[in-house]
Symmetry: C2
Subunit: 161 residues, 2 copies
Amino acid sequence: MASGTGASTHVIPAEALLQHWQGHRRLTRRTIEAFPEEQLFRFSIGSMRSFGAMALELLAIGEPLVRGVATGEWDESFTREERPKEEILGLWDDSTARIGALWPRIPPERFDETMTAFGKYPGRAYDLLLYAIDNEIHHRGQGYVYLRALGIEPPPFYERE
Amino acid sequence: MASGTGASTHVIPAEALLQHWQGHRRLTRRTIEAFPEEQLFRFSIGSMRSFGAMALELLAIGEPLVRGVATGEWDESFTREERPKEEILGLWDDSTARIGALWPRIPPERFDETMTAFGKYPGRAYDLLLYAIDNEIHHRGQGYVYLRALGIEPPPFYERE
């Protein structure tokens, strides 16, 4: 697949990819936080899911994926039932901390390896990880529209601290 | 900033990052295409921008950013006026082709370098490129909500061919 100068050279440091994701996770946390408690699992547009349901999906994917890539254990025990906002934020913070702890345990060569995440999704580890990050950005963008429709200003997209 | 095993090892190949983005660009193209002509620059929710305006923003950032990273020339000549959908799609395809042609001209070590995109946005090249991709995913996610609100099923998120 590679052609041209440096085409197969790796160009993003593992630690930078983690920091990139953690910046997104901080922004997603602020997006969850911006929802009024009573709308988090209620409000939606065009018969889409609520943002709370999307946040549960992100919780079901993020940390379990990193754990799988790091250890080969694919944990699907997270249940997606509705929870109060404070509890979602607590789960989010726990996941964020555990992603940070698991990440340095991924051997560098593992990122290039092909694996089958959760026994269902085959791909190279870096593509699976990028997919999880992209899925978070995608749904958070949808959450922004929900917030605007509710008359609430979403957190600035460019702010990641 | 790096700590732990392999923390500063680069883990995503330049060519894979390009393919990842091009997959997103194919999906964004299908999202633009899914809008009815008369709604592309008209429909919005919560006083947000139209999806057409967002697509113009993506056109103003994507190829010019890659050109800047590859050549040091920061071209801001793209104008964001409203255009018919077919013209937007044509500009999109041209940009996609030029991104593909410019990318192999980026020397591998350039990705780590700090630069100031468009004379305004400082950052490492890989962070600037990831930001452009993320911004596309973010706005496309918003486009999905617009499509659903219009009663149109968006293209599948996981399909990137």
